[in-house]
């Protein structure tokens, strides 16, 4: 099974080949109910077929990676990614980071903390500004409380809803038995000054109905090189519900950048 030991942690990874020696495209999935399969089943194949080597991994506590009790803050996520790239020998040149939702937050934080590691960013409906930290931790806390007190996983199992029961049990383990919620709550929101510090090119792909669009507009105003692509008819679930439009935007961006480097 494809596990890589990174910084003492076993992370589930999947690598897909590219052609030539272009930079690797690294995918960062979203929070709690998400894992690498959402990118594996959407963008990873087309990006690999277009010639770019691909790395997918399950963040700590998610999917088939190890679930330690602590270390769900952004800096530790950057350390996990750095250790993973080193373990795979991918740390000799910058990589492209593609992050969905909270994965976009981690990608952006990585570009701010370790600009040497990042060739470019693609942020997919990521929560960048405003009270989202409070909103999200509130939502997660309510969910955690519900899972703990209702015995929801057991109830679902009794109803024969095995899939929902298993998903709920995974969320319960992460929300009620790790420091994830407090780690996320302790993170300050990004500021225009952060955006202005970004040195790499950024593509931001957002849903036209997304509540998170104002943050993306602020990013596009403040960052030196940010293209904002707004996809019609979709809200936050760009990756799953506007896959074709997103894929076209990402491939155009990666192709153009690869051409620019080659030229």
């Amino acid at each position: 099974m494809a596990h890589t030991s990174a910084g003492g942690l076993r992370l589930h990874t999947q690598r897909l080949p590219g052609r030539g020696d272009g930079p690797t495209v690294v995918f960062l999935h979203g929070l709690v109910m998400d894992n690498l399969s959402s990118f594996y089943c959407t963008l990873a194949g087309p990006v690999s077929r277009a010639g770019h080597p691909v790395l997918l991994y399950d963040q700590r506590g998610h999917g088939r990676s190890e679930r330690p009790p602590a270390g769900y803050d952004r800096d530790t996520a950057v350390a996990d990614l750095t250790a993973l790239l080193a373990a795979l020998g991918l740390d000799r040149r910058p990589v492209h980071l593609v992050g969905n939702s909270y994965g976009g937050v981690l990608a952006l934080h990585t570009a701010l903390r370790r600009p040497d590691l990042v060739a470019s960013l693609v942020l997919i409906d990521a929560q960048l500004t405003g009270d989202w930290v409070e909103d999200m931790t509130d939502t997660l806390s309510v969910a955690a409380l519900g899972l703990e007190h209702s015995g929801l996983p057991a109830q679902l199992a009794a109803l024969g809803r095995r899939k929902e029961a298993r998903l709920a049990a995974g969320a319960d383990a992460l929300l009620n038995h790790t420091s994830l919620i407090e780690d996320i709550a302790s993170a300050p929101p990004f500021t225009a000054r952060d955006f202005a510090r970004l040195r790499c090119p950024v593509l931001a792909v957002y849903g036209a109905h997304s509540e998170l669009l104002p943050g993306a507009r602020e990013l596009a105003r403040s960052a030196a090189d940010c293209e904002l692509c707004v996809l019609p008819g979709v809200g936050h679930t760009v990756l799953n519900e506007a896959t074709d439009g997103l894929c076209a935007a990402v491939l155009t961006r990666l192709g153009a950048r690869a051409g620019a480097v080659a030229g």
């Binding site: 999947q14 690498l36 399969s37 594996y40 089943c41 194949g45 087309p46 399950d58 298993r166 998903l167």
Partner: protein, 105 residues
């Protein structure tokens, strides 16, 4: 709907897929009951996408690169793939690996 494996080879592949499923999901899978050709990944096994990714990796290790889950995903979406039965997957594996051997010879 479920394709009934017709050959000795597809029956063997069903058995191997069953072993792989237990190694991916764990013993918890055994409470579902016996896994056979008609067992479906979604309805019967409640397999998650991430577990199918792990299963696909084991299949490729065992049967080689012609078992191409990503190529499969270019034709069907993950929900359609998870709606398949173990027997249907075995027939697919049998078909692509037999074609691979024919090309190689």
């Amino acid at each position: 709907m479920a394709a009934e494996p017709r050959t000795e080879r597809t029956r063997t592949i069903v058995d191997e897929i069953t072993d792989m499923l237990v190694s991916v999901v764990g013993d918890e899978l055994l409470v579902v009951g016996e896994i056979g050709p008609a067992t479906t990944f979604n309805d019967d096994l409640a397999l998650e996408s991430i577990e199918f990714v792990a299963l696909a990796e084991l299949l490729q290790e065992r049967y080689g690169p012609s078992v191409d889950f990503l190529g499969f995903l270019a034709e069907k979406d993950i929900d359609q793939i998870l709606a398949m039965s173990v027997g249907e997957l075995a027939v697919y594996v049998d078909r692509v690996t037999t074609a691979g051997r024919a090309c190689a010879s």
